[in-house]
């Protein structure tokens, strides 16, 4: 997100942010609505188009969803000009029925030429994916059709229909060595070895669902039928299987369902993304440029979809870097979320990790590529995570505004994962039913395909209604092409048990937007120029597309490339990079035409790499210290807990303990390791153990002089959600002897689970007092422990002044808000409003705090800095962020409703949040039934629970008396301190990538304004909230006037994965404390 477009993006960001996320939807709806009453896409009638193809399934005793789990996966589509008449033709695969080839006669009229063409497919074969490729480089597209199903090997051989140039085809798969008889799904053709010709990557799947336990062994095996394969084009009309030497996994765990080819790491060599259904991880094969690939999934991507299905790779934010979008099955509506399974067992998840699988969650994942080749997953923030049982996705600019939109085909013939079916379909006569009878018991719910408009700010808005996808369908394969050559992309879907659909795009008719199309006249061995990368630049936009037609589920979009240019474009510059690296640039290309790029015009000259500026910071070797948390599972104690609280820390405290002029740092301890100092020396940091300190959970610490000897003493807060022995909650004080040695000093006895500490002279007697914030009463979420002051007598003798239970306080800063000379306290916490305790001449009115009720958040951190240069400190407050299912507003808050409802001595706490306008409990029927079995009497099946709200849990009077907490703001914000009032100001969307637990205000670019480094993430949320990990260190450049601009990690030099819990400036160093991981150290480089 650097470069000239940033200002545009930022302006829009801040504009949208002001009005909240919901407003984006309304705004976008409004924008489209005011353009035309007609939807953007018009579904064409089969009678008009002549395309009557139906992928009709016949369920039999032998062949059905119980016998063959991919029975409902459907067929694919290939679009491309098979007779070289300038119009893209349509090819549909049928699973049990014959394939169909329709020739485009223009004006959306098609003619079925299947019979004459000879491409109906092998009788009794189960056809799946289809790909168009000019395999013999004769300038005519050939057709490669995949086979799968419970059929003998001979019926599963893939077919390669060679184009005879007269709309007839001959199957020559055997001759080419591509008659693979595995369980094939889809092939992609690309030049991985850059020898000029097209090679083939084939994804296969297994029939048998292997269990996780077998993974380690399975991974070492190769399975001919299930393993993916790479075939090298030998250049003599024959392909050789080079999978094993090339490093392609071929294990029987593979359930490959999606395939995308893209030069993800921009090295000129195409890479491969493979989605795998079920437990097997997705594969991210990075081309090693020596004929081999390496799966770098874990190095680059932090979590993936679970049952990954379709995938597409394209640049959705126009930063020139390809992004990845994978599909899964998470529904949008509460009812379907409650009826269909959504993994929720922490133990099962851990077992999966222990068995060697990667982090996988059940929802679509949008992986935005960062400047260093790493990916940040923001599907939920982007608004594209929940599209139900999804098959194919296409990232393409449907409205020609220059930004790629999202289409998702979905639909499942039967809800065979419906909870009531799974648990209650079987009564008494178990195992006696015929499969067909069992299948008839499965409910059936039709869903709508999804289409999202790119809001140009990393978010998308649902356009099902306004773009013409407001009816239900069961769609699998999907493809796009400009079928009528009017400039915009039309859509085609292959549907199960219903007619395939063609949607005419009316962007050119309805909007003023221009376009440019790109066609390739490639080198002799690759006439269609597959693998070329095209960049189109206008005054305001730079867009990039890679020419890889295998897209959409089991499908292939082999039309021309289309670039939308919006209504204002005047001049266009087109740059192409051919697969062998040759380049060509065309300045001032005409708009609204299809430009043919000729390989013979390209030159060897490669682009001179831009000199990259030195980053602000550089990582240096950190002292050998790994923060270690004892493995535990808080969900065993309170099974409805929103997140685990034991995985906390490390927070840090900074101070010059040995008076050498170099600030040192104290890193808080855990039950596995005592807290310790790291002394700054000329060589970096060296550990210094605190003599007498024992291992124990320190939740926070502060270094400040409490006894007036000008040496920083150490106050350590002890706490922990899991602590059972109250003695372990006692905070500790260590006095500095002036030589860097510390001796313990007694403190008033306390047994509160403290979360934070800050030093301030609240009574203005010249010494520093302390505020200690109280967090969760151990094992009693969301009951709070007490917060208190410790009044200093000047000699580090403290007296406790209780402030009562102020909420789940997580952090505090002193700030003289009303400029009366007495420091006030600003507190933040979880499920509580931003709270100010005003200091009335040495007394805090804890009973009457000033609360900002519209700022009730999931606050984790607060930091102060003068952001607007007006002389007083403003505040930065770290929140949950927007990258989760939980969205809130004042009207639609998230709530906790809690009480010991069944009077068994434990708190029953139910979290609720809004889904599609209504507040629903965040838990499955199973989970609430475990917490309170009596609820299962009310909700005797999943259906009755599917629309349940908390009001149905309890009688009105019980609910009335229950305790409540709310959240109406989840965004991380800055608060402008304006005349003693705190005024919220938005931050760029990057600030909302993940929960913020570390805030550093520091002038990185030395322009006189403090910039903000926000860090955090949370990988121990309950599973359905999931691992939120897209923040790798978000640096926001303070541009003044409350404008902040995200700075890439390449520029900041700071890139950290994991759950950061604190970030501190220590002299010229930035120290980053990461939960359960090593400490990270960065040094200022300029």
């Amino acid at each position: 997100m650097i470069g000239q477009q940033c200002s545009v993006v930022l302006r829009e960001d801040s504009f949208y942010m002001k009005f909240g996320y919901l407003f984006i939807l309304i705004l976008s709806l409004g924008l489209s609505a005011c353009q035309s009453d007609q939807p953007l896409f018009q579904k064409l009638d089969a009678g008009q188009t002549g395309v009557h193809f139906i992928n009709q399934l016949q369920e039999t005793e032998q062949e059905n969803i119980l016998a063959f789990e991919y029975f409902y996966n459907g067929g694919g589509i290939a679009v491309g000009d098979l007779n070289n008449d300038g119009l893209p033709d349509l090819f549909f695969t049928g699973n049990q029925v014959e394939n169909r080839l329709y020739v485009n006669k223009g004006d959306f009229a098609f003619e079925d030429v299947t019979r004459k063409a000879g491409v109906a497919g092998r009788p009794n074969g189960w056809k799946t994916g289809v790909t168009l490729v000019d395999i013999n480089a004769d300038g005519w597209l050939d057709i490669y059709v995949c086979y799968s199903g419970q059929r003998p090997d001979a019926l599963r051989k893939n077919q390669l229909f060679i184009n005879n140039h007269d709309l007839t085809f001959s199957d020559q798969a055997e001759r080419y060595g591509l008659a693979d008889s595995g369980y094939s799904v889809q092939a992609g053709f690309f030049d991985y070895d850059r020898d000029g010709d097209l090679d083939c990557f084939l994804i296969n799947h297994n029939l048998k669902d292997y269990q996780r336990k077998e993974a380690a062994v399975m991974r070492t095996e190769r399975d001919y039928n299930a393993g993916d394969k790479l075939f090298r084009n030998d250049g003599n009309g024959h392909f050789t299987d080079v999978s094993e030497p090339a490093g392609i996994k071929g294990n029987p765990l593979g359930f490959g369902l999606g395939l995308s080819i893209s030069d993800l790491n921009q090295d000129g060599y195409p890479d491969i993304y493979v989605t795998n259904d079920f437990v097997e991880d997705d594969y991210l094969y990075i081309n090693q440029r020596d004929g081999t690939f390496r799966d770098e999934m874990r190095d680059r991507i932090e979590h993936t979809s679970y049952s990954s299905m379709g995938v597409d790779v394209a640049d959705v934010n126009n930063d020139g870097l390809p992004d990845i979008f994978t599909l899964d099955m998470l529904p949008e509506s509460n009812a379907r979320q409650k009826l269909l399974p959504w993994p929720d067992s922490w133990n099962v998840y851990q077992a999966q990790l222990l068995n060697g699988f990667w982090h996988q969650n059940m929802r679509n994942m949008l992986q935005i590529q960062q400047s260093n080749g790493q990916f940040a997953e923001i599907g939920q923030l982007a608004g594209v995570s929940n599209t139900d049982w999804s098959w194919g996705t296409l990232l393409a600019d449907f409205d020609l505004d220059g930004y790629k939109d999202v289409f998702v085909s979905n639909g499942m013939v039967r809800d065979f994962t419906n909870g009531d079916f799974v648990k209650y379909s079987d009564e008494a006569e178990a195992g006696q039913r015929s499969p067909i009878e069992l299948i008839r018991q499965m409910p059936s719910t039709r869903t709508k395909n999804y289409i999202f408009r790119n809001n140009r700010n990393l978010t998308f808005s649902n356009q099902q209604q306004t773009w013409g996808f407001d009816e239900t369908a069961t769609s699998n394969g999907c493809a796009y092409a400009d079928l009528d050559n009017d400039g915009d992309l039309d859509l085609i879907t292959n549907n199960l048990n219903e007619t395939a659909r063609i949607y005419k795009n009316q962007s050119r008719e309805q909007t003023q937007s221009s376009y440019i199309g790109i066609r390739f006249n490639g080198p002799a061995t690759n006439p269609f120029g597959i693998g070329a990368t095209v960049t189109v630049q206008t005054d305001s936009l730079t867009q990039t597309q890679e020419w890889h037609p295998t897209r959409g589920f089991q499908s292939c979009s082999h039309g021309d490339l289309r670039f939308g240019l919006g209504p204002q474009a005047a001049t266009v510059r087109v740059t192409v990079q051919w697969p062998d690296g040759k380049r060509q640039e065309i300045n001032g290309a005409n708009l609204n035409q299809v430009l043919t790029l000729d390989y013979r015009q390209a030159s060897e000259r490669s682009e001179t790499p831009k000199p990259s500026a030195k980053p602000f910071f550089e990582e240096v070797t950190a002292p050998a210290f790994t923060h270690t948390i004892e493995p535990t599972n808080n969900f065993d104690r309170q099974l409805l807990l929103p997140m685990q609280y034991s995985y906390a820390g490390p927070r840090m405290a900074v101070g010059d303990i040995n008076a050498d002029g170099q600030p040192d740092v104290f890193v808080c301890g855990t039950t596995q390791q005592p807290g310790r100092f790291f002394r700054q020396t000329s060589a970096g940091f060296t550990p210094l153990l605190l003599t007498g300190a024992e291992a124990g959970k320190n939740t926070d610490a502060v270094l400040a002089d409490f006894n007036g000897d000008q040496r920083p003493d150490l106050y350590v807060v002890n706490g922990g959600y899991e602590v059972r022995e109250t003695a372990l909650l006692q905070d500790q004080l260590w006095l500095n002897d002036g030589k860097g040695g510390f001796t313990p000093q007694p403190l008033p006895t306390e047994t509160d689970n403290g979360s934070c500490v800050t030093a301030l002279d609240y009574d203005r007697d010249g010494d520093l007092d302390l505020f200690v914030g109280g967090h969760i009463k151990p094992s009693r979420f969301p009951a709070a422990d007490e917060s208190f002051l410790l009044r200093n007598d000047g000699k580090a003798h403290f007296t406790r002044v209780s402030l009562g239970k102020l909420g789940l306080v997580t952090d505090a800063v002193p700030l003289d808000l009303n400029h009366d000379g007495w420091p006030d306290l600003v507190l933040v916490g979880e499920w509580m409003p931003v709270t100010v305790l005003m200091n009335q001449k040495g007394v805090f009115s804890a009973e009457k705090p000033r609360t900002y009720e519209t700022l009730a958040g999931w606050w984790n951190r607060i930091e102060k800095a003068d952001l607007d240069g007006d002389g007083d400190d403003d505040l930065v407050i770290g929140n949950l962020g927007l990258n989760s299912q939980i969205r809130t507003s004042t009207e639609q808050p998230a709530t906790l409703v809690y009480e010991d409802f069944d009077q068994n001595g434990t708190i029953d706490c139910f979290m609720n949040y809004y889904i599609q306008g209504k507040s629903y409990p965040a838990y499955s029927r199973d989970e609430i039934g475990e917490q309170m079995p009596s609820l299962r009497k009310i909700f005797t099946n999943y259906q009755t629970y599917s629309d349940a709200t908390i009001d149905q849990f309890f009688a009105p009077d019980v609910l009335q008396k229950a305790q409540k907490k709310t959240i109406n703001e989840v965004k991380t914000l800055v608060l402008e301190n304006r005349d003693g009032e705190l005024v919220p100001r938005p931050l760029p969307l990057q600030a909302q990538y993940a929960p913020v637990y570390g805030i550093l205000a520091h002038d990185f670019d030395r322009d006189g304004r403090p910039d903000l480094l926000l860090m955090g993430n949370n990988s121990t949320m309950r599973l359905r909230i999931g691992k939120i990990d897209a923040n790798h260190g978000v640096l926001l450049n303070n541009r003044g006037n409350w404008q902040f601009m995200p700075v890439s990690s390449t520029t900041s030099g700071i890139f950290v994965k994991g759950d950061v819990r604190d970030v501190k400036m220590v002299g010229d160093y930035v120290l980053v404390g990461v939960n359960n991981r090593p400490l990270r150290v960065f040094r200022r480089s300029r």
Binding site: E69, Q211, Q350, A351, L354, A428
Partner: protein
């Protein structure tokens, strides 16, 4: 019917017929009400609901315990030779007494009490609605007077209320909402394929015992320590399960399947999954109690007593067993075999979701068999066809203890337990059963077997 007078006469006749049901004497209707088949039906109904609602075996044993206790206590005031269990069962106080001098149909009070508690402790009330709609009609048909029906039903409900209050104090509520913490330490239990379900009822040892003094009263010896060195005692146990698994005989398979009694078997094939549900081990033994009662032509009271005492033996058996399971927290054969011997090995039966030692089925089968042996005598041969509806065949046994031993070994054949968990579990269960008899049944037993 054109003639209005004829119409009236017919109507009147119908009214007469309806109002003049056969006048039965208390002796007559009580004898009919005490037809034991009525009680067997109620127990069967409860089993069906338990299967539908998917209760784990320990929880099911608790439901059976309170339901049968209610049925028993509502019967005994009218049943010479049988006594209330107040004061004998832990913390159980005397239930309300019937009004002296009033006429009652105690077998009806008994079924009413049983069904009321059953409904209370399960979820699917609609299933009881359907059952009870016709069930109480029978009592009218056999001539129990309206007011006696009302009074007896009310008495049954009063007893049920007392039992529910008793049930409310057994720590069941307090043990909800907790999960077992998986430590992944070597040799300890971890969730098992295919569903990787959470460990069931990790706090069950805190449930109030029925007859036992404490949950650890019959603590079994320590299990063979985890040690995968070839030739170690534990290794031998593992290897035995593995070898039996790969060289399984048809008879072993039949035995294992017959005693599966897994309340919730998840059939998983890709995204498709559906549960097969069966009786729990406790439900199976109550079904055996029904079979025997029918075979031995046991009267109503004896049938009720047998159900009740069997339920207590089973319920205490589960408490005793669960106490040990979460103490030893032992790994399942499937986990250890997959890790060290054969990663693809899958047991014939699906591994149930809780630690291995001791075998629940071994403990409760032995406990139940002791009670039934005392009530009906040793060497009572019987044929058990109760699993037939679930597709599990029919098996014949020489005695209850014989059946219990076979149930125990079936877990080895099924590949879900090690031998020591069965053999020591069987001993543990026998002790539980003997103690239940010792405390509750000695005197009655003498009467019954005479």
């Amino acid at each position: 019917m054109k003639n209005p007078i004829a119409y009236l006469i017919v109507l009147g006749g119908l009214w007469f017929l309806a109002s003049c049901q056969p006048k039965a004497t208390p002796e007559e209707y009580n004898a009919k009400a005490a037809e034991p088949e009525r009680y067997h039906q109620c127990v069967k109904q409860l089993t069906d609901v338990i299967i539908h609602d998917i209760f784990s075996p320990p929880v099911a044993s608790r439901i059976y315990g309170y339901a049968t206790l209610a049925g028993y206590e509502a019967l005994v005031p009218g049943q010479p030779g049988y006594e209330s269990l107040a004061g004998k069962l832990r913390k159980f106080t005397a239930p309300p007494k019937p009004e002296p001098g009033q006429e009652y149909c105690f077998p009806l009070a008994s079924t009413r009490a049983f069904l009321t508690v059953s409904r209370n402790l399960t979820f699917s009330g609609d299933m009881f609605d359907k059952f009870e709609k016709d069930f109480y009609e029978q009592y009218k048909e056999i001539g129990v007077p309206e007011e006696v029906i009302e009074r007896s039903m009310a008495y049954g409900e009063a007893v049920a209320k007392h039992i529910m209050e008793f049930a409310g104090k057994d720590s069941y509520k307090q043990t909800r909402g907790f999960k077992h913490t998986v430590t992944n330490a070597e040799g300890t239990w971890v969730p098992t394929p295919p569903a990787y379900m959470e460990a069931a009822e990790p706090k069950w040892m805190q449930i109030r015992c029925w007859v036992m003094d404490t949950c650890s009263q019959f603590m079994p010896p320590e299990a063979a320590p985890y040690d995968m060195t070839k030739g170690s005692p534990f290794y031998k146990l593992v290897d035995e399960v593995y070898q039996l698994g790969i060289h399984q005989t048809e008879e072993q398979r039949r035995t294992a399947f017959f005693w599966d009694d897994n309340a919730f078997v998840m059939n998983v094939a890709g995204h498709v999954s559906y549960a097969s549900k069966k009786m729990t081990p406790g439900g199976h033994w109550l079904a055996i109690a029904a079979t025997i009662a029918r075979q031995q032509k046991a009267d109503f009271a004896k049938s009720v007593q047998a159900y009740t005492l069997t339920s207590f033996a089973v319920a205490d058996g589960f408490i005793s067993c669960w106490d040990e399971k979460y103490r030893s927290n032992r790994i399942r054969p499937e986990t250890v075999i997959n890790k060290y011997i054969d990663p693809k090995w899958t047991p014939y039966l699906q591994t149930p979701p809780f630690p291995e030692y001791t075998s629940g089925h071994s403990v409760i089968s032995a406990a139940a068999a002791e009670v039934l042996t005392l009530l009906y005598g040793d060497n009572v041969a019987f044929t058990d066809s109760t699993e037939h509806p679930y597709g599990h065949g029919v098996r014949s046994f020489k005695s209850f203890r014989d059946a219990a031993i076979e149930a125990s070994y079936s877990r080895l054949y099924g590949g879900i337990h090690f031998r020591d968990a069965l053999e020591l579990g069987n001993i543990q269960g026998r002790k539980v059963g003997e103690y239940v008899i010792e405390k509750l049944a000695k005197k009655d037993a003498v009467v019954a077997t005479r």
